[in-house]
C-alpha cells in the first residue's frame, strides 16, 4: 500500500485551510475560534477567578483548568455521549500541560484560569485545534503569558512523513502514525507530544522538524486573529 499522493491533494508540509478569530464569545474574558479543514474548535477563558473548593488553592501560584469536549453531534459516526469520558479527560490534562509553560501563574496565587474547549464539528486533529484556540483565547483574556503555543499533528502514512493528518489519512489501510505536537513559539520547545501507530525513529525526527516549520505559519494565523480583534476594538480600519 503505497501513498504517493495525499488523498486530498495536499503537499506533505501543507495543512488544511486554517481560519482563526478572537473574541467570539462576549460573556467570556477571552475567546477564540480555530478552524483547520473541517475541524472547528471554540475556546473560552474565564479568570483569573476564585477557586473552589478551597483546598485546591495554591498560595504560591494560580492554576489552569482545561475542559475539552466534543459536542454530541460533532462526530462523523454516532452521537458522542455528553459528559466527561476517559478520552476527554486525558485530552483536557495534556492540553493543560501544553499551555502551562507559557503562563505566568505566579501572578495570580490562589486563583484559577478556566479554559473551556468545545468542538461543533470534527475531522481529526481536535486536540491540536483546541490548543490553538485556547492559546488565542488566553491572550485575548489578557492572562499574563510569556508566549503563544500552537499545535499540529504530524506523522506518517505508509512511507510518507507529513503534517496535519485528516480523518481519512488516520484511517488509511497501511502503516500510519499520528503524532500530535505543541510548540512554544520563541523557544521552539515541545510542550505536548503523543503518538499512536507505528513509526521509525528517523521518521519521527523528520516529522517533528516538519511540524515545527509548519507551526510557524500557525503562529502567524494566531497573531493575526489577535491583532484583528484589537484593531476592531480600537476602531482602526485595516
Amino acid at each position: 500500500m503505497a501513498y504517493p499522493k495525499r488523498l486530498d491533494g495536499r503537499k506533505i508540509n501543507e495543512t488544511r485551510e486554517i481560519e482563526a478569530k478572537a473574541g467570539i464569545i462576549k460573556r467570556a474574558d477571552g475567546s477564540a475560534m480555530f478552524k483547520i479543514g473541517k475541524t472547528v474548535a471554540y475556546a473560552a477563558v474565564y479568570g483569573p477567578r476564585n477557586l473552589h473548593p478551597k483546598f485546591l488553592q495554591n498560595p504560591r501560584e494560580g492554576i489552569i483548568r482545561v475542559s475539552y469536549a466534543m459536542m454530541p453531534f460533532s462526530s462523523k459516526g454516532e452521537r458522542v455521549r455528553p459528559g466527561p469520558s476517559r478520552r476527554s479527560k486525558e485530552i483536557s490534562m495534556v492540553t493543560e500541560k501544553a499551555l502551562l509553560p507559557v503562563l505566568n501563574l505566579e501572578e495570580f496565587p490562589n486563583a484559577v484560569v478556566d479554559v473551556f474547549i468545545q468542538l461543533p464539528q470534527t475531522d481529526a486533529g481536535t486536540r491540536c485545534a483546541g490548543i490553538c484556540a485556547a492559546s488565542i483565547a488566553l491572550a485575548d483574556a489578557g492572562i499574563p503569558m510569556k508566549d503563544l503555543v500552537a499545535a499540529v499533528s504530524v506523522g506518517r502514512v505508509d512511507e510518507q512523513v507529513l503534517v496535519d493528518l485528516c480523518y481519512d489519512e488516520e484511517a488509511f489501510d497501511g502503516k500510519v502514525a499520528d503524532v500530535p505536537m505543541a510548540v512554544v513559539q520563541r523557544t521552539g520547545e515541545i510542550s505536548l507530544l503523543q503518538m499512536d501507530g507505528e513509526i521509525e525513529k528517523d521518521q519521527l525526527i523528520n516529522a517533528l522538524k516538519l511540524g515545527k516549520e509548519t507551526l510557524k505559519k500557525i503562529f502567524d494565523v494566531q497573531k493575526k486573529a489577535l491583532k484583528e480583534k484589537y484593531h476592531a476594538e480600537n476602531g482602526d480600519e485595516e
Binding site: R27, K76, F116, Q121
Partner: protein
C-alpha cells in the same frame, strides 16, 4: 440587586429597556443552517449576543414496548460553562434539565415529527432522533433560542442511508424528516406590572415570574411557569396572547430555509 430592578422598572414605565428596545421587541434574530457537517442536521441561532448551536443525530434501535410502531425523540441541553461565568462543569444542573425538558415537551407535544413514519419495522426497528443543544454565549433568553435552534436543526436534517439495518453516517439520502408542525417557544417575563420578551441577563436576574408559551399556529402545545412570583389568570391570558403574537415574528426567520 434591588436597585437594578427598580432601574429596570423605571425604564419600563417609559416603555424602554437597557438596550433601547421596547418591552415586546426581539433583538436581532439570526438562523443559520448546516453549521456542523457531521450532524444529520444542525443550526446556529443568535438573539443579539445570545448564541446557541443545535445538532441532530439519528440512530436505529428497537421501538419502546408501549409504542411499537413509532420512532422516538429526545432533547438534551448543555448549558456550557463556556457560555457564562455562572455555569459550572459537571453533570447537568436543574437549570439545564428544565431547559431541555421544556424544549423537549414543545417539540414532542406539538407532534413536530410524525413518529409513525419513523418506524422502520414494527416492534423491531425504528429511528431514534437525538437533538442536542449547546450554548455558546449567554446573553439572556437561552430557552427560546435553544427551542428555535432545536427546531431549525430538525428542519435541516437529512435521513442517512440504511444498509442491512446499519446507519451509513455521512451518506445522507434526499429525505428530510416528516415534519408536521413548527412549535415556537416564547418566554414572557413579568417584572413589576410589566411584561417583556427576549430578556437580557440583567432582566432574567430581576423578574418576578415568567411563562414560556410554546405554540404552533395559535395552538398551545407546552407551557412552563417559572420564577418565585405568582400569576393571575388575567396575567396568563395576556402572556399567552403575547406568546402567540411574538412567535409569528420568529417564524419569518425560520421560513428562510427553502433552497438547500
Amino acid at each position: 440587586m434591588k436597585q437594578l430592578k427598580s432601574q429596570i422598572i423605571n425604564g419600563l414605565e417609559q416603555d424602554l429597556r437597557f438596550d433601547g428596545r421596547k418591552p415586546l421587541d426581539w433583538r436581532k434574530i439570526e438562523v443559520e443552517y448546516g453549521i456542523s457537517k457531521n450532524a444529520e442536521g444542525s443550526a446556529r441561532v443568535k438573539f443579539g449576543d445570545t448564541e446557541v448551536l443545535a445538532g441532530v443525530k439519528l440512530s436505529v434501535g428497537k421501538p419502546y414496548p408501549d409504542t411499537p410502531d413509532e420512532g422516538s425523540l429526545m432533547v438534551d441541553a448543555d448549558l456550557s460553562p463556556m457560555s457564562s461565568p455562572d455555569f459550572e462543569t459537571g453533570p447537568p444542573d436543574i437549570k439545564a434539565i428544565e431547559l431541555a425538558r421544556v424544549v423537549d415537551r414543545g417539540i414532542r407535544e406539538a407532534k413536530t415529527v410524525d413518529m409513525k413514519k419513523m418506524c422502520i419495522e414494527k416492534g423491531e426497528k425504528c429511528w431514534f432522533v437525538s437533538i442536542d443543544v449547546v450554548t455558546i454565549n449567554d446573553g439572556g433568553n437561552l430557552l427560546d433560542a435553544c427551542a428555535l435552534a432545536g427546531l431549525a436543526a430538525l428542519k435541516d436534517t437529512k435521513i442517512p442511508k440504511l444498509e442491512d439495518g446499519v446507519v451509513k453516517y455521512g451518506e445522507p439520502t434526499k429525505d428530510s424528516l416528516p415534519l408536521e408542525k413548527e412549535p415556537i417557544a416564547v418566554t414572557v417575563l413579568k417584572i413589576g406590572k410589566f411584561f417583556i420578551v427576549d430578556p437580557l441577563v440583567e432582566e432574567e436576574d430581576n423578574f418576578d415570574s415568567k411563562l414560556t408559551v410554546t405554540t404552533t399556529d395559535g395552538t398551545i402545545c407546552a407551557m412552563q411557569k417559572g420564577g418565585n412570583g405568582t400569576l393571575s389568570v388575567e396575567d396568563i391570558e395576556k402572556m399567552v396572547d403575547i406568546g402567540i403574537e411574538k412567535a409569528k415574528e420568529i417564524r419569518k426567520h425560520l421560513a428562510k430555509k427553502g433552497a438547500k
